[in-house]
């Protein structure tokens, strides 16, 4: 082993040796993995010069070590806190491996094909060549690592109609002293007037540190719509680095609902390209942190062609010495006339040690566009607080209620009522003063 490597990169090297036997044996798959691994190692970890990474570098990213999670299918169980949604097809992955026992039967649908990536690549090996959907930029580099070590994942293809509700669960277990690493991965393709709501849930089983490196690769085209609800409820000792890439084609909409409520560190790098006429992208982000929790959402929305629209709404609730970071960039390409973009960020700070950093950015290479952004950071509205107190509501309860209301206002945009209610309850359960406001939830 190279003595000059950081503990993180040493972990990559160790994993490569460990994985040689465990991962897909197919020669093409091995080539793709190795190429991705080599690109990651050559690029190295982001460093202090990468503005978007400075907070995590301070948190000791390079010093963190991990090992590939061993197969634990036999003793795998469904942890508490999974959502129950009537009519949903559920695919469960434990430490990155598909678990048929914990999954539901797949709903028969003439317009939907739900399968594992193993099944997909067995059926269509030619797709492997395009399995690395990202470049080497610092913000998307962790996608390479995912490609190098992902064991399996979920593939959803919808064409020409509405899919049933799909629930993808990624459970991260824990083992010995080193952080166990898992590499969840999803692939979504929607076309010809398809519409689909997909819930992606990252959840931990048991206590102990872990490293989750996830990837979502999405294409929505030809008058289709995909709503992806990502619920991050990992345990307090888990670190997740996530990359999402979405390509949105003509008359299509991709809506991301990114709900971060758990984890020690959760970082998501989202890249949405509006490539077709009348394409639309929406990002609804929620970050709820407490203790020393740290959430980051980095979003880049590119208007590549005329008459495309984007909307980014992000809210964070930060308590104790938690931190939320939102870095959102909207780029309007030359010639993309008539683009409309709206960015809105609201942070609620509940303690003096809490910190929220918001950086809305606009890069407009064009005239004839309508772009707006607004950001606010503050404490609970004193007028609302006094109104509740003046009705005899206890002060702690009033604060809890207003915090809940701040969150709920964003969740009401979730695409399925049952999901809104379920997620609202789940999120409310992580708020301070949750016991005081349980009658309201």
């Amino acid at each position: 082993m190279n003595a000059g490597l950081s503990p993180f990169l040493a972990s990559v090297e160790r994993a490569q040796t460990q994985a040689a036997g465990a991962l897909a044996t197919d020669a093409e798959a091995q080539r793709v993995r190795r190429a991705a691994r080599d690109r990651f190692v050559a690029a190295g970890l982001p460093n202090a010069r990468d503005e978007n990474w400075k907070y995590l570098i301070l948190r000791g990213l390079a010093r963190s070590e991990w090992v590939l999670a061993p197969s634990s299918a036999a003793e795998a169980r469904a942890p508490e806190g999974l959502l129950t949604m009537a009519g949903a097809t559920r695919l469960v992955f434990v430490d990155g491996r598909f678990n048929a026992r914990l999954s539901s039967p797949r709903m028969a649908s003439p317009v939907t094909r739900i399968e594992t990536l193993t099944e997909l690549y067995a059926r269509a090996p030619e797709l492997l060549a395009s399995a690395v959907p990202v470049d080497d930029r610092a913000d998307t580099r962790f996608a390479l690592l995912n490609t190098a070590f992902a064991m399996d994942g979920a593939s959803v293809e919808i064409a020409g109609g509405e899919s049933p509700l799909i629930y993808l669960v990624f459970i991260a277990t824990t083992g010995g002293t080193s952080a166990q690493a898992t590499f969840p991965r999803i692939r979504i393709r929607a076309t010809r007037g398809a519409s689909s709501t997909i819930v992606e849930h990252h959840v931990a089983d048991g206590a102990g540190s872990r490293f989750v490196n996830s990837l979502a690769d999405i294409e929505v085209d030809d008058s289709s719509r995909v709503d992806l609800c990502r619920l991050h409820t990992l345990a307090a000792d888990a670190r997740q680095f996530d990359t999402l890439r979405a390509r949105v084609g003509a008359r299509s909409t991709f809506a991301l609902h990114s709900l971060m409520v758990g984890g020690d560190i959760v970082r998501s790098d989202v890249d949405v390209a509006l490539n077709g006429a009348a394409a639309a992208g929406q990002i609804n982000g929620l970050m709820v942190t407490a203790g020393t929790q740290h959430h980051e959402l980095h979003a880049e929305l590119r208007h590549a062609v005329p008459h495309t629209t984007s909307r980014t709404h992000v809210r964070s609730v930060v308590n104790d010495s938690g931190r939320s970071i939102c870095n959102s960039k909207v780029i309007v390409a030359p010639g993309a006339r008539g683009s409309v973009s709206e960015q809105n960020f609201r942070n609620l700070l509940l303690a003096s040690g809490a910190e929220a950093d918001t950086r809305p950015q606009l890069e407009i290479n064009n005239e004839d566009v309508k772009c707006s952004h607004g950001a606010s950071t503050g404490r609970l509205d004193p007028n609302m607080l006094f109104y509740l107190l003046s009705r005899g509501i206890d002060a702690a309860m009033a604060r809890g209620l207003l915090t809940y209301a701040f969150v709920i206002d964003l969740l009401k945009d979730l695409p399925v009522d049952e999901l809104s209610r379920t997620v609202a309850r789940r999120v409310a359960g992580t708020l301070p003063d949750r016991d005081l406001i349980k009658d309201f939830i």
Binding site: N383, F386, Y387, L389, R391, F440
Partner: protein, 251 residues
């Protein structure tokens, strides 16, 4: 019921109440009238416990108890109700839940059992009919998207449900058309009882045509400069406030 003695209050650097005194007995309806900026709303907010104001001197006794020593939520539970001039919109908090939590807080203070969901709903629906509030109200968030008139009717609905002993209504008549004014006045009249005092803060006397006060006070420049019966309100309507302004400065 309520005894205010020489109350001096400021917000920021600005002194607003400059030695205000007022006595309101149980069963009485008092109107506080005055020009804009005279301190009417400050008085209402201070009585309810708004924290932004600084009390320099003076006393407020409510049923013999030092009202200013209580935080706002305890004043509400003790039976003080403020009808807001500008009721606050709270997206994400349901009207009915707020009303239920508020009522149960008050009932707990009075040593009464909490109402169950059915009893509560029956009570609310009964009062809603009185205030001509649509059933859809039940599923809406507090004042969110309400018209000015709906917000004021909602304030009176809360008054009817919570049954306070001292109701302070801050310009509840402002922004209402004549039909809405009658509904609101009807609601206020329905709460008149021998053991309840009502303080109406208003700029105009038109509400007083429908809710007839026992006493009318004129507040100018932070002090009560004239008190009388309801005919004082009519005189103000005829002459405006200017003829009393100099009394505020002199007093």
């Amino acid at each position: 019921m309520l005894s205010i003695q020489n109350l001096v209050v400021s917000i920021g650097d600005r002194r607003i109440l400059k030695g205000l005194s007022l006595e309101v007995g149980a069963g009485e309806v008092h109107a506080i009238m005055g020009p804009n900026g005279s301190g009417k709303s400050t008085l209402a907010q201070v009585l309810a416990g708004r924290p932004e104001y600084t009390i320099h001197s003076g006393k407020v006794l409510y049923k013999g108890q030092d009202l200013l020593a209580l935080p706002p939520e305890e004043r509400a539970r003790a039976g003080v109700f403020l009808g807001f001039q500008y009721p606050v919109e709270i997206p994400g908090v349901n009207n009915v839940y707020l009303l239920k939590a508020a009522l149960n807080a008050v009932r707990k203070h009075r040593g009464l059992a909490e109402l169950d969901a059915f009893e509560f709903l029956a009570l609310v629906k009964d009062k809603m009919r009185l205030m001509q509030i649509d059933e859809a109200f039940l599923s809406r968030a507090v004042n969110e998207g309400f018209s000015g008139g709906e917000k004021k009717r909602n304030e009176i609905l809360q008054l009817l449900v919570l049954e306070p002993e001292l109701a302070i209504l801050d310009e509840t008549d402002s922004g209402l058309d004549i039909d809405a004014l009658k509904v609101v006045a009807h609601g206020v009249n329905a709460t008149r009882r021998p053991d309840r005092a009502i303080l109406l803060v208003t700029h105009y006397q038109r509400l007083l045509e429908h809710v007839v006060p026992d006493r009318v006070h004129v507040l100018t420049d932070g002090r009560i400069v004239r008190s009388g019966d309801r005919t004082l309100a009519l005189e103000l309507e005829r002459q405006g406030y200017d003829w009393l302004r100099h009394e505020g400065r002199r007093a």
